[in-house]
Assembly symmetry: C2
Homo-oligomer: 446 residues x 2
């Protein structure tokens, strides 16, 4: 008697919110008071191995419930699917999700619905890697180039990258991979830190944290800018004085400016030798980024954390609008779409320096940069992963930073699982933290 | 004793779905079986006049619940606001909604959250026009140019259109407005029809409906294409033979193609003299549309129903990627953002031919084209509003088509209110139609 194949038995969703706005962690010119949150999804199966798949969309508070509703709307595509099928080739489910002809109307491939797809697809990759007994970076690096190419939807990409070109890049990426893997395991992947530079921090805290970052081995730090030019000039001067001339100092405007404003403001900061200007304007403005890049060189232009999909990344590269591609693990349609972006960046010779921070974004995206190093770009030159030092303690396999580098994770999976205690405490509005908070506020109001 | 000002007392939402997939109305190459739906919102106030404001997002079935959740997430921004404030200057609420720093993370200004903002803002315009005793087209045409300019968020636009340029266009638009208004009231605004050309219809039905369209006075019809080239060639031949050489024949691929495919396919249909190719590729692909346009001229390139916001429209115009701007009344952030798009199109001298159909899109968008004629473009040359002949009977002020023209609505408001009986019947899943349908399906399964 043959046993029936293991299937997905539950797609459980959770609205998790952390009260970060109370400390101004994460404050910038567009996001003065974020409550870092996650619309969290857990895939459960009836396989004997007991593995689960974990994924999430990062949000900054209000609207996390909408994101949960969007993941719920995908449930029927996932429930009862054979585990071997979705884990053996995640592209099958990925294509089903982005191809749902009715849900597609709500995007297509952008915003709430697309981030929901990313959460579910990343959960599948977490499950697939756990079943394979490998971290995701290794699952990807061990895969055949042909299989990787199959993970990508080339619709709307072929004018910039064909499957054949992707295959060539991946085959070339196999040369020297064993040596790179040894180096990765020994040294990790370079990081930079944003922890010193939040807009809500005063100069004393900026000074202290910037000095600590250099002492900890970081070679790049980042400052939030864009609210007030005089403040920005003062803060850049303070930061540059603390870190000296050899540490890279990136600045990040979080979409605050129009095109002409971005050019003017960035030039006004040029004396402090900023390494890149990040998100100078709308993430949708490909031609705007290209105009800014032409005007502010040699300051580099970086964007990506809000770039909605591979089609916009394609055009940013085609238009010569970027010096740095900042993928985000949970903004686009999950690992599958990020593979497309890594290969596009390689085709155009532009380095990938991921966006991270938030809730669990460091945990996820390190796997993608490590795969990029091992099998696509083949180098860490001018590549750094953002690092922000909060909320990691809510994860079962938190990132490990050593001397300014991300240590390669060894636990199977995507490092995406949250601690059950954290889920119980910060589920909104019923978790123990929020329930107690509501009681306190009721008391104060009375 | 002064009375307290009237306020918004309720923001009620409804998940309305029509079972259109059963007739293949609305079928195209990307949307084989849509159930035309609306996430519908009604603003109620405690004003003595008893007026309500109605708005909606159009969807094609699954995910309509996500859209309702997104509108619900905006409720706290609207509830208890003074009616005079939100109706006297809708830009105040519009800026609050697009500027919510936490909800903004879910876009920004795209997809589910942005369409929800559009539904709420359009409901405010419906309410404002009812209170003013005017249809929205007239409210807009009667407004001072300075007030119209204030309705627009120029962030991310000023490299293509400044407030001063917008004001100049609007001031110029006042010349001859009285004559145009008289003509509009007499003749209406030209329409074209898509009712003949759905992909699911056979040649006999296509022939019959195309002939009827010409007999009804339409000077342009549209065919869905993109699933199978041989079929498309046959259907274009049939349609061209029926309508003769003088009727414009547009074709619509609903985003089906990659760039090279779009060029090849459009050229293969060139012998039938297509007037425009609509949505040849991804609505996000500005550079792709520009490449297609260069290659397929003199066939015109049209897009817009899925263009997410003013920033993408701006770039489509900057890149010379379009011959026809197809605004949609319910895709972007409501009337306010569509005013920006109308003015951008005027600045670049590109005609606006709105997308309509769906649920209530004809009812809404006619107001915007009529304002465009009266106060912005100043002409109906090469301007037509899409018309599709279904689901109008669910609206209290349905569009009136006469000799291939939209008749100017005279009832106050945005023509957005649905009939209470329709709401009661098609609310999902509890309305009378869907409850009965569930019973039937249960019976068939048993």
């Amino acid at each position: 008697m043959s046993a029936s194949p293991a299937r997905v038995t539950a797609v459980d969703t959770y609205d998790i919110r952390f009260p970060t706005s109370r400390e101004l962690d994460g404050s910038d010119a567009m996001n003065p008071d974020p409550d870092y949150s996650a619309a969290y999804v857990v895939l459960r199966t009836d396989a004997a191995d007991g593995h689960e798949g974990h994924g999430f969309t990062f949000t900054i508070g209000r609207g996390n419930d909408v994101q949960v509703a969007a993941i719920d709307a995908l449930r029927n595509h996932v429930l009862h699917r054979p585990v071997d099928e979705i884990c053996g080739d995640p592209s099958v489910l990925y294509r089903d999700l982005i191809g749902d002809s009715q849900l597609r109307w709500l995007g297509p491939e952008k915003g709430v619905m697309h981030m929901a797809i990313g959460a579910v697809i990343n959960a599948v990759w977490d499950l697939a890697a756990r079943r394979a007994g490998k971290p995701v970076w290794q699952l990807l690096a061990d895969a055949e180039p042909e299989w990787i190419v199959r993970q990508i939807d080339f619709r709307y990409l072929t004018d910039a990258l064909t499957p054949e070109e992707a295959l060539t890049i991946l085959r070339r990426g196999r040369e020297g991979a064993a040596e790179r893997r040894a180096r990765l395991l020994e040294r990790g992947f370079p990081a930079y830190t944003t922890s010193a530079g939040w807009l809500g921090y005063d100069d004393e805290k900026l000074t202290r944290l910037a000095a600590a970052a250099v002492a900890d081995g970081f070679r790049q730090i980042k400052l939030k800018v864009g609210a007030d030019l005089d403040d920005d000039i003062r803060r850049c001067r303070v930061a540059r004085a603390v870190v000296g001339p050899d540490i890279r100092l990136a600045v990040d405007a979080n979409q605050r400016w129009n095109v002409d404003e971005a050019i003017r403001w960035t030039k006004a900061l040029a004396e402090f030798d900023p390494y890149w200007i990040e998100e100078p304007t709308s993430p949708d403005d490909i031609l705007g980024h290209a105009a800014i890049r032409r005007a502010v060189a040699p300051v580099k232009v970086a964007t990506g954390e809000h770039v909605q999909n591979r089609i916009v990344f394609k055009q940013l590269l085609q238009a010569g609008a970027l010096d740095v591609v900042q993928i985000d693990a949970a903004r686009v349609g999950g690992v599958n779409e990020n593979l497309a972006v890594l290969l596009l960046a390689a085709k155009f010779g532009v380095p990938v320096c991921p966006h991270a921070g938030g809730v669990g974004l460091c945990e996820l995206v390190q796997h993608l940069s490590m795969f990029d190093y091992l099998a696509v770009a083949g180098t860490t030159d001018d590549r750094v992963i953002e690092y922000v030092d909060h909320l990691h303690d809510h994860f079962l396999d938190p990132v490990v930073i050593r001397e300014g580098h991300y240590t390669a994770p060894t636990a199977p999976g995507f490092s995406a699982a949250m601690r059950p205690e954290s889920v119980a405490e910060y589920t909104y509005p019923g978790g123990t933290f929020w329930a107690a908070d509501a009681q306190t506020q009721k008391g104060q109001a009375a």
